[in-house]
Subunit: 207 residues, 2 copies
């Protein structure tokens, strides 16, 4: 099996690339557990088993590492996204998408912690997170508009659409946080309850 660059497990750049991936993986966990401010590059380096200087050699600075972490997070979420699922079906499959997210607690911790931290304009990930939310809301709005155009749901004003997609996002974020605080939280059932009720309301014009 070969990787994306075409090198095999015996290839020349193999160890360097693997180390980089390994550092990013550990950084996701550490930043998720302690936040960006609370997670030091030394803690990450120790857990990987290298010196902190090696880590800086790879990423230039702590902020460079954060950038790599955010890109990796982006990559994985795009990978796990619903390509080809359109309109109302996109919303109907959110419960299972959310369930899949729970298989990687570290990634959810990272997103939750960084998103909260980055609400402060001074945070290095502020712009990234803002853009992330904008894009995510726009994607949801796209699918909802499509459902309207297809006649699957009653017409909605653009103001109503914005509220709807913000509510969906809020439920996913909020239930995720509650699951982190209490793993007995019924994530899938909760999201399903919300989506079913919401889709029902959209269909029957009860906004």
């Amino acid at each position: 099996m070969s990787n994306s660059t075409g090198t095999t497990s015996r290839g020349p750049y193999r160890t360097g690339i693997r180390r980089r991936e390994q550092i990013v993986a550990v950084a996701i966990a550490v930043f998720g557990e302690n936040g960006y401010a609370g997670g030091s590059i030394r803690t990450i380096a120790d857990r990987v088993g290298v010196s902190h200087a090696t880590l800086l050699q790879h990423f230039g600075s702590k902020e460079g590492l954060l950038t790599a972490v955010l890109q990796e997070w982006d990559r994985r979420t795009v990978e796990a996204s619903l390509t080809g699922v359109l309109g109302l079906d996109y919303f109907r499959r959110l419960p299972e998408v959310m369930t899949a997210h729970l298989s990687n607690r570290g990634l959810l911790e990272l997103f939750t912690t960084i998103a909260a931290e980055a609400s402060s304009p001074a945070h290095p990930a502020h712009v990234f997170i803002q853009r992330r939310y904008t894009d995510n809301l726009e994607t949801l709005a796209l699918h909802l508009r499509q459902a309207v155009d297809a006649g699957d749901v009653a017409p909605l004003t653009s103001a109503e659409i914005e509220i709807e997609v913000r509510l969906v996002t809020a439920v996913l974020d909020g239930i995720g946080l509650q699951w982190l605080l209490d793993p007995s939280t019924k994530v899938s059932a909760s999201v399903e309850t919300y989506i079913n009720r919401t889709v029902e309301a959209w269909r029957s014009n009860r906004h």
Copy 2:
């Protein structure tokens, strides 16, 4: 006008008490902006205009200051809570309660940041936040059960009630975060949309 201890603005303990309150107020802002890990007692002390040693004199340690901050946050939220409002009315008034929360951005930043940080069991506020959520969910469940008993909404199983109160909490938390990231977010309208639709579903047995 006298304060709760009966001392006037000329009273002997006045400056000490005021300084303590002042430090806590600044700490709420700093912890809100940078998180607990990212907000140093020196930053707080500088902004107050005292040395960091003075701050430690008052609260013993950084964690002692955090405790004071969380207690103050508790005090203010209890103060702003809906005493005397029962059953369905409790939920119906959540949009305006949420709107009132927005008047103090620092407090919302504090809660959002600390709650996310404290999802890690090692965080000093972990137990506090867990308890906070448990209590909050229980309060909401109480009001929902009361609405059921009063015949205002159709019967719900305890499992359904838990999902419902978690969804309400998720919406409030999630919309709050989105407002921090984008102040143009229509907080009251969003929460109102959610509550109206939910109450409607409860009343007509569409769970």
